[in-house]
Symmetry: C2
Subunit: 148 residues, 2 copies
């Protein structure tokens, strides 16, 4: 569980856990305001049965845990035993997933604005897929500095 601790430190450093929400859903902290957090999550050697139904179930859990609202979901399989692409449009932006079973590689992106917790979603995906290796990048979108 060590890497989860490490990640929380990164979220904290980036001020993601301490925020207020403006009327038009921008996130505001003492330094800046921004539209939301975009988390890019690369999972290697994950536990996954290459099923769209599994992916749909896990994405729905992830959306719920993040405190987001699902608007539209679509999955596409590229061929038998081949990769899957999926997108979920949310009231708070989107989640996407692309799988490469031949490489044991899964790429997620979670972009959420407003009063949500995308970091909890990323944590849920990591716990559920239990990858041997992962790479996480957290990017704030639509940043406007309030302090010059």
């Amino acid at each position: 569980m060590d890497y989860l601790m490490k990640e929380k430190a990164v979220y904290k450093k980036n001020n993601i856990l301490k925020k207020s929400i403006s009327k038009d859903h921008f996130i505001v902290d003492s330094q800046e305001e921004y539209a939301g957090c975009h988390i890019l999550l690369d999972l290697w050697d994950a536990k996954f049965n290459n099923s769209i139904n599994t992916l749909r179930k896990i994405l729905k859990e992830t959306i719920k845990i993040s405190g987001a609202t699902l608007i539209h979901m679509h999955f596409h399989r590229f061929g038998k035993e081949q990769g899957i692409s999926g997108v979920a449009v949310l009231a708070e932006s989107h989640i996407s997933v692309h799988t490469w079973p031949e490489r044991n590689y899964i790429a997620f992106d979670i972009f959420m604005c407003g009063d949500t917790s995308p970091e909890l979603g990323a944590e849920h995906l990591t716990k559920t897929f239990s990858p041997k290796k992962k790479v996480v990048k957290i990017i704030k979108r639509g940043v406007k500095k309030l302090v010059k």
Copy 2:
């Protein structure tokens, strides 16, 4: 046009313009192999009439210019005069867009694997929307170093 020149230098530095494609669509250069490039594009004060039809047309152009293939597209408007969210699932991953008309802010992400040119797509979006300010981040996804 100065910033386009600057951007090309970034793409060149990141080795995005010089690549070969493996059988399972990973991109291979002399240093590493990776699934694809994820471009996060923030546009401020863009020329945009807040229409889904306009967005659909521009995304289709972007997909064509990038050399990608559209599989599924979905748009959602959050209310009259309010923001739009859209996703395009591609044979080569996805494009998403979220607009905040009240802030004059548009957030795109373009994730493309295989033999595509997402940098041309990003350039097309920038030219078309002609924003007063933009922020671009380019992230390679699924990177495996070949040289240690």
